[in-house]
């Protein structure tokens, strides 16, 4: 009996509320929140523009990046995601169609099936490499990755035993192939995948504070470089390897090409569901994405605010937006 009481109470109150509500239906979009801080900031910049300038209501969904996210976007479950780095995306060549344009120049031409739409470059240009702290580079005399093997015992931890340790690309879905790279280049190190960016950085910070040598995978722009003095080990220049895909059972091209090389310069882009952005009601949002041009310097400043000063990300973005209207005014379609 008591159950029926509460049920009737719930149902009745709902009817009451229905009567008292006339909810205005805002235009809705669903965005994926990136799983690294830089990406989160870029995303928040785009979302705040959509919400405050174009009258959208954006649902933010926490979803790990990787092929799964691309499929979710193709299926229309998520409308858009921000700041994809071409060398980390595996699905981009399969699912996107059309040119990647930065500053009016075509950087790459995608020839996929078009199930995901390239919305435009985000303005962030990324670079990834392996890094060691400057004190270690100087005291051990390490000039490039070729010198790493000589000092591998200095880089060892209890977990890696006799081999050195690389604090590797934290998320498998990013497709860094760190262990494969180390093996191909003959670096006797073990790639340690720690699961999250934060865990990897925490390890690096602890090691730096203790002034131990350590090898770290990292990308720019990142706040870590502002706080700690790091040097790249200069991996070989990027070269693609066509057979190194899952469909070909990851057949590598030897030491000459990816993944035995470093990463290419990444012109990052925003991407979304083609059907959503073909709709007339979202035309302005689509136009906004073609115009958006965020930049590395601004992101770097905000990264320091968020990660080092521990401030709320939304607040930091809001501050930037209020202080620099001239930077983003031109992105907003009339």
């Amino acid at each position: 009996m008591k159950l029926s009481k509460t049920l009737s109470a719930l149902i009745l109150s709902f009817i009451l509320i229905l009567g008292s509500f006339g909810t205005a239906n805002a235009k809705r979009l669903t965005a994926a929140v990136a799983d690294w801080t830089g990406g989160e900031i870029t995303c928040q910049v785009a979302v705040s523009m959509l919400e405050e300038e174009l009258g959208y209501k954006v649902k933010r969904v926490v979803f790990p990046s990787g092929t799964g996210l691309w499929e979710a976007i193709a299926a229309g479950e998520i409308d858009f995601a921000c700041e994809s780095w071409p060398s980390y995306a595996e699905a981009d060549t399969v699912m996107m169609k059309g040119p990647l344009i930065y500053d009016g120049k075509t950087m790459f031409n995608y020839e996929g099936d078009g199930s995901v739409k390239l919305l435009g470059t985000s303005g962030i240009i990324g670079l990834s490499d392996y890094f060691i702290p400057r004190y270690a580079a100087e005291s051990l005399g390490i000039k490039s990755w070729k010198d790493l093997n000589k000092h591998k015992d200095k880089f060892a931890t209890i977990e890696s035993g006799k081999r050195g340790r690389l604090i590797a690309c934290p998320v498998a879905g990013w497709n860094c192939h760190d262990q494969k790279r180390l093996d191909l280049l003959g670096i006797d190190f073990q790639a340690d995948e720690l699961g999250t960016e934060a865990a990897a950085i925490a390890e690096a910070v602890a090691a730096y504070e203790r002034k131990e040598p350590f090898l770290l995978y990292l990308w720019e722009p990142h706040w870590f470089f502002g706080a700690y003095d790091m040097v790249g080990v200069g991996l070989p220049d990027h070269k693609t390897c066509d057979s190194f895909t899952e469909a070909n059972n990851w057949k590598d091209c030897g030491t000459a090409a990816w993944p035995a090389t470093g990463w290419a310069k990444d012109y990052t882009f925003n991407y979304g569901n083609p059907e959503t952005f073909a709709k007339a009601e979202h035309a302005k949002a689509a136009e906004f994405f073609t115009k958006m041009k965020f930049d590395n310097a601004d992101q770097a400043v905000m990264l320091v605010e968020v990660k080092q000063k521990n401030r709320d990300l939304k607040e930091v973005v809001k501050e930037w937006k209020d202080a620099n209207p001239d930077k983003w005014r031109s992105w907003i379609p009339n």
């Binding site: 109470a9 009745l12 009451l16 509500f21 790990p64 799964g68 479950e77 977990e159 699961g195 865990a199």
Partner: protein
């Protein structure tokens, strides 16, 4: 006579020696084999190449997606509509209305204490800035509980009516309960989309078994005499079911609902991995940012919410004993504090206020009942009386509805109340973060954590990892099959062999050995810590009471909250993964140790003491042997929980099958994830069955159970 005893003990002794000898021999052979092998043992390439389980699953998924996607899309869109409706309602309703929606039902069903507690919970959500997220979680959970109860009771009733259906459902329910939710969480994603809908459906799979089981047993347990007397009065089968059996099994069903709520909450939080909104997403973001304070706030929001729903649903199945009329009823403080003057002074105004409220409520309800009776009697006399009675009995519900209506009326036409006031914010984020930071730079503490980490890794985890992965697979398999044969029987040994062959053929042998070693090390540590705590608790009642409260709290917390404290002090890595597993799976072993020891009837230990046994001797020679069955049950539960935890530990650096599941998700490779998920389930099942069979043998040997 004495001769006989001697020979029996002698044969027992020699049997023991042989058993230990065999175990030692097997171990030495394994050691030799593992040190001789070059790398980790691999299954023959011919088998793994031919057995393309992953590819088959992916093909099957593609086929289903192509041909049946439209059905799932329709189902998903219905659920989504329901969820969006609920979510929009919660997020846009004035905060006072939301607070009243939690407060009033809690007040009515659980009394003033629960009412005040619910207000605190709602305040905490708002104060920590997780108002929206908490309500999203509530909406998701509410909808899934509703659906679970709807389908679960129906299935439970079907089970109770047909033995054949019951037999069919039993293994299905077993699988539903053991299968890690992750395994079906992301196939659900590709059929039902992202966010609310797949989360709710996955929650239904996860949380429905208890209500099906409890409805079934509840109905089956209705006594034969009642059923017979009802049939002799000529009630039909349906009448018997709905008028007699179902009402009589309500307490059992209510208990089922309580369990469904707790399990649904745990899974809804986990569903953030497939894009469901809510506090889970916040905790995950916090873990990703290593922000302990933030994660802690999220964890506390969930914990408080869980306790509130637990107490709320419990209050339905609990009967309150009526007090004698001359005793003053206490509304807030425990009744047995009546002897204290202060307690009586505090309670006096409360009881006064409550009688006023009672009076007003009854009057208003009666008035409404009278008016509506009058109004309806214009149309039909009979109905009017019935409706009047119906209303006048609900003298708490009707006034509550009026309050709710008033709030929404005021909000829409007089004064907009809006969302939770931001001035009332209170954050414990910074203090916690500061405290943790202070602790993590403390040299003594760093020394301790580093030492522990090194000890666990070098002495336990690493050797066992190497040992298990390097033993040839056929040898490990033979050991498992032999244990299965000796403890359970031939049939189980055969099944074990098949299950292990499946794991090997999927090409995940070495990952599953890593998982096994993490679980074994975790369980070992659980024992090393849990048994002493259990012993202390069994001797000291005060310690036991405190410990029970802590354990209760631990068991209501969703399991990936355990990553937080570990992350905070030990950083990421495989050792941290083991430590998080230990924290999560230690409660049953503590509980069952103390239970087992306290249950050993007093007479045994008294006899032993009167023969001059010391405390230690009594414990060692009398109590422990008798408590073994209870300990083994604790072991069994701990193992299952440790396996379940393997799914989330990759978030802080765990390896093995759990990582495979994660990688499957990131690559949208369902087959790979599913194979790894099934691997975890199979390992758990094998160990579960073996330890259960062993308990049974022990109980029979002790004469506690008949063969």
């Amino acid at each position: 006579m004495s001769n006989l005893v001697e020979t029996v003990s002698k044969t027992n002794q020699s049997k023991n020696i042989i058993t230990y000898g065999v175990i030692l021999l097997v171990f030495i052979v394994a050691l030799v084999l593992s040190t001789q092998s070059e790398g980790p043992s691999k299954f023959p390439k011919v088998v793994t190449d031919e057995f393309k389980f992953t590819a088959w699953v992916n093909e099957g998924e593609d086929y289903l997606k192509k041909n049946y996607r439209w059905i799932t899309k329709i189902i998903a869109s219905y659920i989504k509509e329901g969820y969006y409706f609920l979510e929009d309602f919660f997020l846009e309703a004035p905060w006072l209305l939301v607070a009243a929606l939690f407060f009033l039902p809690c007040l009515i069903s659980g009394g003033l204490k629960l009412g005040l507690y619910s207000l605190f919970v709602v305040y905490f959500w708002g104060a920590t800035g997780m108002w929206d997220e908490s309500l999203q979680t509530v909406a998701l959970m509410g909808l899934s509980v509703l659906l679970c109860v709807l389908f679960g009771t129906t299935l439970g009733i079907l089970c109770s009516q047909s033995d054949r259906f019951d037999n069919f459902m039993k293994p299905v329910l077993d699988t539903m309960q053991v299968m890690p939710a992750f395994v079906y969480l992301f196939p659900a994603l590709f059929f039902f989309g992202i966010g609310g809908a797949p989360a709710i459906l996955a929650t239904m799979i996860y949380a429905m078994p208890p209500i099906i089981r409890l409805t079934n047993t509840g109905i089956r347990q209705v006594s034969k005499e009642t059923v017979e007397s009802a049939t002799s009065f000529g009630s039909s089968r349906l009448q018997l079911l709905f008028k007699i059996k179902l009402p009589m099994s309500l307490p059992s069903i209510m208990m089922g609902i309580n369990q469904v709520i707790m399990m649904a909450l745990a899974l809804v939080v986990l569903a953030c991995f497939i894009g469901a909104e809510g506090i889970g997403g916040q905790v995950w973001l916090a873990i990703r940012n290593l922000d302990v304070g933030w994660a802690m706030e999220g964890g506390l929001c969930i914990l408080f919410m869980a306790i509130m729903f637990d107490r709320f649903s419990m209050s339905f199945s609990k009967q309150v004993d009526p007090l004698p009329s001359d005793v003053q009823k206490f509304y807030l403080l425990p009744q047995n504090w009546e002897k204290y003057q202060i307690a009586r002074i505090i309670e006096k105004p409360l009881s006064f206020g409550s009688s006023i409220i009672d009076f007003v409520c009854i009057k208003i309800t009666n008035l409404i009942a009278y008016v509506s009776e009058l109004l309806i009697s214009l149309f039909s006399k009979n109905n009017a009386i019935e409706i009047g009675e119906f209303i006048s009995k609900r003298y708490y519900v009707i006034p509550s509805l009026i309050v709710l209506f008033l709030i929404s009326f005021i909000n829409s036409s007089i004064y907009e109340i809006g969302t939770f006031p931001s001035d009332w914010k209170l954050s414990i984020r910074q203090p916690i973060a500061d405290a943790v930071k202070a602790l993590t730079v403390h040299p003594g503490f760093i020394g301790f954590t580093k030492g522990l980490r090194a000890f666990v890794y070098l002495n336990l985890l690493h050797p066992l990892d190497v040992f298990l992965t390097h033993i040839p697979w056929w040898f490990t398999m033979a050991i498992f099959v032999a244990i299965g044969y000796f403890t359970v029987g031939l049939r189980f040994a055969f099944i074990t062999a098949l299950l292990l062959l499946f794991i090997g053929a999927c090409g995940i042998w070495s990952q599953s050995m890593i998982t096994l070693s993490s679980v074994l090390v975790s369980v070992f540590l659980c024992f090393a810590l849990g048994v002493p705590l259990g012993i202390i608790a069994s001797y000291n009642e005060r310690f036991r009471n405190i410990q029970n409260v802590v354990l209760d709290a631990m068991q209501t917390l969703p399991y990936f909250c355990y990553l937080i404290p570990v992350l905070m002090f030990f950083g990421g890595g495989i050792v941290s993964a083991v430590l998080a597993t230990v924290i999560y799976s230690i409660p049953p072993i503590i509980r069952l140790t103390s239970l087992g020891l306290t249950q050993v009837s007093g007479s045994y230990s008294e006899v032993s003491r009167s023969f001059g046994g010391t405390l230690l001797q009594t414990l060692n020679k009398v109590k422990f042997p008798l408590a073994i069955p209870s300990l083994v049950i604790g072991f069994n539960q701990t193992v299952i929980m440790a396996f379940a935890m393997q799914i989330v530990t990759p978030l802080i650096g765990g390896k093995g099958l759990g990582l495979e599941v994660f990688n499957g998700l990131a690559r949208s490779d369902t087959g790979r994830g599913l194979a790894a998920g099934i691997g975890i389930v199979l390992l758990a099942i094998i160990i579960d069955r073996i330890s259960l069979a062993w308990t049974k043998k022990q109980r029979i040997a002790l004469g506690l159970e008949k063969n």
